[in-house]
Symmetry: D2
Subunit: 488 residues, 4 copies
Amino acid sequence: MALKTAEEYKQSLRKMRPNVHKFGQVIEDVTTHPATRSTVEGHAQIYALQKDPEYQDMVTTASHLTGDRISRYLSIIENVDDMVANCRMKRLMFNLTGTCTGGRCVGWTCINAMWATTHDMDKELGTDYHERLKKWLLEAQKKDIAISGALTDPKGDRTKSASQQDDPDMNLHLMDKRDDGIVVKGAKVMICGVAASNEIFILPGAGYKEPEGDWAIAFVIPRDTEGLTIVETRRPSDTREEEEGFDIPVKKGGITQAYLFFENVFIPKERVFMCGEYKYSLAAVLNFIMAYRTAIGACVAGQGDVKVGAAMLMARANGLASKVFSDKLTRMVINNETTFGMGIAAATLGRKHPSGVWQPNPLLANVNKVHVATLPYENSVLAQDIAGGIGETGCMPSWVDFEDEKYGYLVKKYLKAKSSAEARTRAARLIEWLTIGAGVPGCMHGGGSPDGAKLVIRLHAKLEDKAELARKLAGIEEEMPEPEKKKR
Amino acid sequence: MALKTAEEYKQSLRKMRPNVHKFGQVIEDVTTHPATRSTVEGHAQIYALQKDPEYQDMVTTASHLTGDRISRYLSIIENVDDMVANCRMKRLMFNLTGTCTGGRCVGWTCINAMWATTHDMDKELGTDYHERLKKWLLEAQKKDIAISGALTDPKGDRTKSASQQDDPDMNLHLMDKRDDGIVVKGAKVMICGVAASNEIFILPGAGYKEPEGDWAIAFVIPRDTEGLTIVETRRPSDTREEEEGFDIPVKKGGITQAYLFFENVFIPKERVFMCGEYKYSLAAVLNFIMAYRTAIGACVAGQGDVKVGAAMLMARANGLASKVFSDKLTRMVINNETTFGMGIAAATLGRKHPSGVWQPNPLLANVNKVHVATLPYENSVLAQDIAGGIGETGCMPSWVDFEDEKYGYLVKKYLKAKSSAEARTRAARLIEWLTIGAGVPGCMHGGGSPDGAKLVIRLHAKLEDKAELARKLAGIEEEMPEPEKKKR
Amino acid sequence: MALKTAEEYKQSLRKMRPNVHKFGQVIEDVTTHPATRSTVEGHAQIYALQKDPEYQDMVTTASHLTGDRISRYLSIIENVDDMVANCRMKRLMFNLTGTCTGGRCVGWTCINAMWATTHDMDKELGTDYHERLKKWLLEAQKKDIAISGALTDPKGDRTKSASQQDDPDMNLHLMDKRDDGIVVKGAKVMICGVAASNEIFILPGAGYKEPEGDWAIAFVIPRDTEGLTIVETRRPSDTREEEEGFDIPVKKGGITQAYLFFENVFIPKERVFMCGEYKYSLAAVLNFIMAYRTAIGACVAGQGDVKVGAAMLMARANGLASKVFSDKLTRMVINNETTFGMGIAAATLGRKHPSGVWQPNPLLANVNKVHVATLPYENSVLAQDIAGGIGETGCMPSWVDFEDEKYGYLVKKYLKAKSSAEARTRAARLIEWLTIGAGVPGCMHGGGSPDGAKLVIRLHAKLEDKAELARKLAGIEEEMPEPEKKKR
Amino acid sequence: MALKTAEEYKQSLRKMRPNVHKFGQVIEDVTTHPATRSTVEGHAQIYALQKDPEYQDMVTTASHLTGDRISRYLSIIENVDDMVANCRMKRLMFNLTGTCTGGRCVGWTCINAMWATTHDMDKELGTDYHERLKKWLLEAQKKDIAISGALTDPKGDRTKSASQQDDPDMNLHLMDKRDDGIVVKGAKVMICGVAASNEIFILPGAGYKEPEGDWAIAFVIPRDTEGLTIVETRRPSDTREEEEGFDIPVKKGGITQAYLFFENVFIPKERVFMCGEYKYSLAAVLNFIMAYRTAIGACVAGQGDVKVGAAMLMARANGLASKVFSDKLTRMVINNETTFGMGIAAATLGRKHPSGVWQPNPLLANVNKVHVATLPYENSVLAQDIAGGIGETGCMPSWVDFEDEKYGYLVKKYLKAKSSAEARTRAARLIEWLTIGAGVPGCMHGGGSPDGAKLVIRLHAKLEDKAELARKLAGIEEEMPEPEKKKR
């Protein structure tokens, strides 16, 4: 089967069992329902680009399994170039949708993380997970499906491990192991883009220890699997998506983040890629975050590009040359290129895993995650600074008031500046949407928290080597070990 | 008449002509309509505190005109203590409402700015503006009214002055001068708290030059004056205010920001405090911003206190001691005390204007404004950092889903951590409301832009003196003047 | 006796026993020796200002004991105005000397700290320390002496308390208690300005507990007391002070920091203000740091003024208008006014101690200390940024080369830009001196470390109150206490 | 001839004519004179590594001209791997010397910049510069010489171009063109490492326009060429290098920065690579800075590694586990990896110049330069923060006092903490040397100023594209061009 068109992709979504809910109601058709259509439109753009001569090389590649042209989101990342292409594609998608198309990139990263992890498991444990994954992937490539990914468990009391929780369901876990598959219970929360996906790739949410064998599970399921209930979260200004007009000015992009409730869901054996091998759960997660934190810098750079552009539009709408804000715009560009560049660096200094997957440098990838958790905020502040009060909190009458019969003419008269009232309003609403509205992605904790990244940084920082460097350089002959732990 | 109670205050609002609109409809009763009731409740707390033994000294003072106990918001600020009390009261109000009660403090600052400006005008020009203002103020104190204030004009093309605009209405201006008063046309935009106020104090929005005599006008009007149409802006997540439940968890506080359209509005003579004296328009604005930028640091500190508390609650809800986030909480405290403290410093190093008004130090007040435009953002980022993904973008199902008959039990089961699901959700929604929701005030441009503040800083920085200090210290004997402007 | 002149002050130093050393040699005359003359000149300016009509009100005040005009450095700080004057005077002294005149302000702060502490001790313990201190102070005021102050002990292993150290001398302590006085042993390190002082005020370096009674001592001694050996530290580029020319361009200011070795030094009873009362050692230190950290922001602001000026001179020397660097200069001004202003705020929100001493607000004072540990560095970076490569590391040939017979003409030819070679070189050397040379004071740890300040901030931050505010605002009814400490 | 040993390298320096001066004297032997021996030792380490099995692959490579193994500093950078190796080697050299070995990397970058520039000139103008350069390079590789590089002219009045200066010598320029070569006059200033080099590569310092043909010159000369007078600058604490002991603790590394005075120096034709082709002077400079600003991030990362290590040593010397400073050390690591990583990214996203040179991405390279001008300062502040007062300004008695017969035992007694007095002192002096002493390189303006980098960033930032992205995303149909320049 060939690469899908945008329309074929939407068709595939329409055929699925409705199990996504919001505001107490089931969403019958995710492609038209106001709560999900924007994100579906965002994801549909990826399919459209597959047929677009200008972009198809960026969003498709050759399958290393069949040689066929496939979506890059379904490919194995084999070298620096692939990883750089990952970054570029993500930046492009944020450029074109203004926000996150998380219904594909997380799933993609899960595939790659498990490609390496199952390879190691099979080799060391004699399991056949890698072969299962390969079969499933061949099919996925053939059907050109959209696959989201899910890691985050509800977790309950953060000071307790999965097996210590009062309620074992606080982390998704095995309920039953049968000949033909497994039964699982629990939840995954804050999961991006499931409404726009055909399948969901599930990874264990943490590195589990021996008592947590039942929690060490990985698998992939159709989004509309029996027993899976999905509830979408409500995000800033999300009800505007249900309205007419341009109070949300972006129509071809949007975010959804869902809670996935698994009530004794059955997963067929051939879709299970880890089941009890707790020792590999940490590797699965690390293999995921290395790649994810490499590319996430390109995401926020891509949105940062739009913030730069939106700020320029606001300045112009007010009659001001963007040169007036030259320093601020330059600072925004620096921030964007820093998160983008650090990903490129992590890709470049990676290494080849025996399974064939290219794994980025963990130190640089995690340094990038820390930047991703701070620099986009600075860019939002700068964009609001340039935009003026009107952009800061979207401080304008609503579209309904803009078009009001009685006083709409006044709203328009006074919103006009150098540009038309509509252009100025749309630009201001774009700033609002990007910085304090429905377009803000979870860049602080998406792909894990910055504090978690700092732990990995310390792990890879080789601090002791640096102390040795300094000791030799200073001509100190005595040993200077870390003081023993003091007892109080 | 005595100090009003909260209920009397609301009664006074209910008696007014409905001229506030939102979403294409007029708001019949601002005290009950979902778009305005929260901000009215916030302002009503001020009246309630007037009767509260714990707080009455903070929110009331003795009138310097009559000696009667009056609302501090209707007082003339006569010394350092008054200005410090101003800061403390603003911090308190943000503590109690979580956000801005802008329907009183801007008006208060306008009164004080014009107290000084009219004094100078009368002395130098022989006008009687000061006396008019005094009479009006006596009445205002007697009636204990809430007075908002308005400075910002639509401004049109920012590179053109008021008189150069294609449309003269881009800045509020005089249309007609009659024996009994004046007629004005134009608009004031992004005006805080008018829905919660009885009257509105209008200041010229800029320092006008000779051709802009018609724009140099100041006056005070009842909010429901004939010819004045008010349209409320739509802010982030504002439609949640129309819903049941706790998706907006704060009920006793809220913001409104309005566009005020003046269609040939008549202002009686005794309410006019400037009319054509363009030379005094800059002084009016500067007298305003000195005081306003002094106290605004206390506002953001007050909201910052709530951010600190909300972040602590989120940590605890997750089972974590706030000690885990000690460094981040300390940084937030430092930020809060910095904006609060700089205001205290500006107050302390002020001077007495001949009219009796205490005027804060302009250099320090404007340095504070720059901090106010940056540090609250850092606090929001830190609060989101501590709160985890759930707080960052309010990433939870809606209250409707929380209470849903079919799957609400699942939502509750998985939102529970150390605290109950409801407590955790409310805390997370509070973080969202404070950092990316309806509770975010316009701290970047409120009270003027940081770039504007920097201009004033340079004006007062005595840079040449500093160059001289350095020259003498370095033993340089030759003069080192600023290079003459180069011609290319 | 009247206020001393600069010359009388220097005379008083010359009369003292030489016990200050550097580079293996005793300094016979601190007023002429290259290692100490600059700092003496700096301190002498204070005496000169006492006679200068323009400045005398800033550097002198009326004794609250006698009503006589005395040096402000020997006064008791009784109210906000006194504390503000403290800040202003410190800023002035940094303006005039380019750096720290630490031989007076630490001692002054010690006097005030012990004024309050001895008052409390006498009241609660029935001792007569306060009376002793008053007698000594009367004499000090009469003789108009310069008094430095010393707190920092060598401390040895930082994880052990004074009484746990292998060597008890690691913190200055009591060796013997006699009828007529006490004998002490140990050291005080990194003490500023002792070379320029007549006496030294010694405070305990930490809050001591019961086993550390012998370490809880406070007293004042002539700098040339028997048994006290003083060794000056070597600071960046200090040997330049021994050279001719302008490689150090500042002649009327300089720093010394000394190690004070006490080898069984006898202190007469009437000069002892604490001896064994360990419970008051923390109060003594806190009373010190509150005042010290209030005013230290003015110090760095004063040096920051000079950095601003020096950067302007460098720009002009290169032919550039300082307007080119407008944003950077404004940022520097903001930093200066922030540390200055936070001190004013701490002063304003202080309280009167029963002894009559005005004690600044501890929260704001410590917030200021954190700023003092960061903002001056930012100013140095900005000054270097504006100055160009030549200022960054003082990248010019030496004065000897500048004046060299063979090639000095080439050095001069190519150092000339818009200004003369000498003016440009002096300005560049001033930048070097201020940012990476002998003029850099210890603003990171002077007055204690920023981490120590953060501890005090947390102590005074009322975090629990803030959590309560947030809980009520969010409508959370359940209690949300701090989680109990987890046992692993 | 084979790769030189460290000793052979020093021999080669000893054979040269003494034309380097400092403090009014000529330096007879740069390998032993205290003003230059440290930097020579630093550079000698490179030669030593060439024979070291562990490092030889990092510091040598195959000549693309001959296939012979050559110093990497004499190689043409042909691909990403070469550029990454450049970065790694620089980081290594800062690790091993604690500072800059600028006598090789600038020259190397000049070679590569002119390799591309001469290729283009020859192709477009029919000159034979590229062939000349190739011949010279073959010889340089054969002799394994150390080559420094020089760009910065004195520049005079910064608002005037080279041809407008009152004195034409303010920028190095052509005096005479002869059949066998050219004669030049002027100076190059602040040039790193010439004392440790055999030859110096000269590039034009700026992009010249038509009237500046005589200034558009590039060539390479032996360091001891007739007519060239070199005067070393004096740097912070440089006289310590002339002393015994450990007040400068680093012996195998050091910086020199020189002023080069050209008094009618003759350059043989075959060593001239540009002469009058002003149109190519900008390309020469840009080709230089792209590569230089790519790798300079690795330099500061390498020094940053030592700062991390030195801070850890200080903590341990004081008895504290480095874990106490975990957050600060992590921040330092993040800063280091950011400047290192951005260089790797610039290398990766480069392109191949037709001459065979790999040219890094100019946008990312210049973003890196901005980070290089700020992050190392933050690391210095953090290192001082961790180190305590003793490290901040090197606040200890001198080595002479440490060893003093009379009181040295006291100095040692009280400098001892957890480590020996000597180890603690050496560690503290290392902090001083790295952050405020002779080891501080010119990272603000080295490789050009951050403001210059920002100009290049804006040039490559494609701002207009970003405005277009935003316009389309917001559904704005009208054009929103940059406002025309306003005339006042």
